[in-house]
Amino acid sequence: MLKTFVRRVVLPKVYVQDVARPLNTVSSKSWNLQKTAVPPVCSPCARKTVLTWNIRQYSMNNDSSDEQQSATGDTFTSKNESNSHKNSDQAEGTTDQKDNTQDEFHADNADDTVDIKTKILDNALDFVHEYKWSRKAISSGAEAAGLAGVSEGIFEGGGEDLVLHFVRQSNIRLQHFMKESVKRQDEEGEKMKSSEFIRKAIEFRLRLIVPYMDNWSDAMGVLLRPNVLPKSAEELAMMVDDIWFYAGDKSSDFSWYTKRGMLAKLYGSTQLFMLMDQSPDFKDTWEFLDRRLDDIKNIAEISQSISTTGDAMFQAAFSSATILKNILGFPDRKR
């Protein structure tokens, strides 16, 4: 029973190469192909990320009406713009495909209160200085939006929902900025290096935090709470994926994961540095970012050189044996 379950349900999920084999095989009757396993690309991750890519591509492609959004790094876009960003991402599109993907993605916001929720939270961000990331801030935001203060009960997580909203909003703004940047590059014909692009993207994203810098450590603490951590990790993963996508990453091997992991770590460490930074216009933070990017470049070069050196050293150590082997006429089977 257990063996059948394992063979039929668990194992087929592993990505495999199918090799045809005769049917009258001694092995399991339910399997008439011999499976040779190859190292799996984590299929749930790949599926979800592809889905995410598709959704975000759709959201990018379908809000062509927002071309006039400003995309420079130092502007802090107004509330109205951010509202329309959110609405265009979550509004029910005209095409059927967009409807499906949007519904899947925003399953919990599929009701008609999304606009009101966004309005309340956008207004609540103004009160974060006074009341920090709390229900009181949301209820003041609701009052500012023209609703009764008790409507903050809509948000079951309270302050956590406010922080998540801000993070999502910032990520959407980053998306638009990167899209604009890529468009400008295409028009002008000059291609930015990916490290340069990443640096610009991270700087833009971190500058969005600057207005809330006094309370940002609280917000980071909120994002690490066990009930919030899955959502905040997802947001980080999607943001990092976006940055690499717009930077032009087309990898389809394991480096896909290492690139995103490294960028997430880079973003996290720069964010932490920025919390403590007192220099004018966060000059030290940008220098820190540059140093980290240089480190990453160096590591890549060093690891490459290590592998070639190791190869060379191995060959040098066995050079006499190799020469002897060739003289005696034993061919190298591998080539």
Binding site: G146, L147, A148, G149, V150
Partner: protein
């Protein structure tokens, strides 16, 4: 053991006598007739009958609540106000809140959470029954709290549109003749952003506990009512009206149908009661 059996026999015979008398009327359920516990009565009569029930229980209402629920009703009401989480600008309308339990809790909550508020929290207590309101007024006098007391039917509130930010009704909505009308009135008097919170008895989901709960409800509560308050029938009506009230999901649907958004319910004490909540967002 003999005494216990005698006691059981007495209780069961009382129960069967009272139940026998309740099945004399014909059961017709159209617009003109509605349920009053397990009885069927004319719709226009129900309000009057409810009035009589609560007039007779008014004096011992609070004490009976404590006895029947073992003091749990205090926790349920605390949870209700905690869920509502009013701010210092909240204006409360407490329907069927005769003795003022919810109103006093609301005032305490606002005073404790928000030490600076613009005025004294504005609370209006509304009930169909004047006797219970009198009990509430005397309690308010004892505590030195000033509230507004209004005697009216929850189906036709004498307040202008959009005049409150919180509407609560605790253990009262099952006594109303037309629940949808009450909900519509609640929607009408709430401001946009206002919250409707209803604490009401519900159906126990666990079958074993449900059996125990039924036994307790039908065999113990009316007896307690008779012994302590001298009124078997009112407490019989009470436990029957709980059974007649729609289940939590159905009630949630009724609230949504009227126009409230983000409607949810929280069952308490294994489903003995539930707090339903909805928002008027437009």
């Amino acid at each position: 053991m003999f005494l216990l059996n005698r006691g059981k026999a007495i209780v069961l015979s009382c129960a069967s006598i009272s139940q026998a008398s309740y099945y004399t009327t014909a059961k017709r359920l159209d617009e003109n007739y509605t349920h009053f516990g397990y009885k069927t009565v004319k719709t226009e009569e129900k309000a009057g009958r409810v009035l009589d029930v609560f007039s007779s229980v008014a004096s011992k209402y609070d004490m009976m609540n404590d006895v029947m629920s073992g003091g749990l009703h205090r926790l349920w009401k605390d949870r209700m106000i905690q869920k509502l989480n009013p701010d210092n600008k909240a204006v409360l309308l407490d329907c069927a809140g005769g003795t003022g339990d919810i109103a006093f809790r609301f005032v305490n909550y606002v005073e404790r959470q928000h030490s600076q508020f613009t005025d004294h929290p504005n609370v209006t207590v509304c009930d169909i029954n004047n006797d219970i309101l009198e009990v509430g007024k005397s309690r308010a006098l004892e505590r030195g709290v000033s509230l507004n007391w209004v005697c009216s039917n929850a189906e036709e509130l004498p307040f202008p549109d959009q005049s409150f930010t919180c509407y609560t009704i605790a253990f009262g909505i099952r006594n109303c003749t037309n629940i949808s009308k009450v909900l519509q009135e609640a929607y009408r008097v709430l401001r946009p952003g206002g919250r409707f919170v209803c604490l009401e008895f519900s159906h126990v989901s666990n079958p074993i506990l449900s059996k125990i709960y039924d036994t307790y409800s039908f065999q113990v509560i009316p007896v307690m009512g008779e012994v302590i308050a001298g009124d078997w029938n009112s407490y019989q009506y009470l436990v029957e009206s709980i059974r007649k009230f729609p289940a939590a999901d159905e009630f949630k649907q009724m609230i949504s149908n009227v126009g409230f958004k983000v409607v949810a319910y929280e069952p308490l004490t294994f489903g003995t009661c539930a707090i339903h909540s909805g928002f008027r967002l437009k």
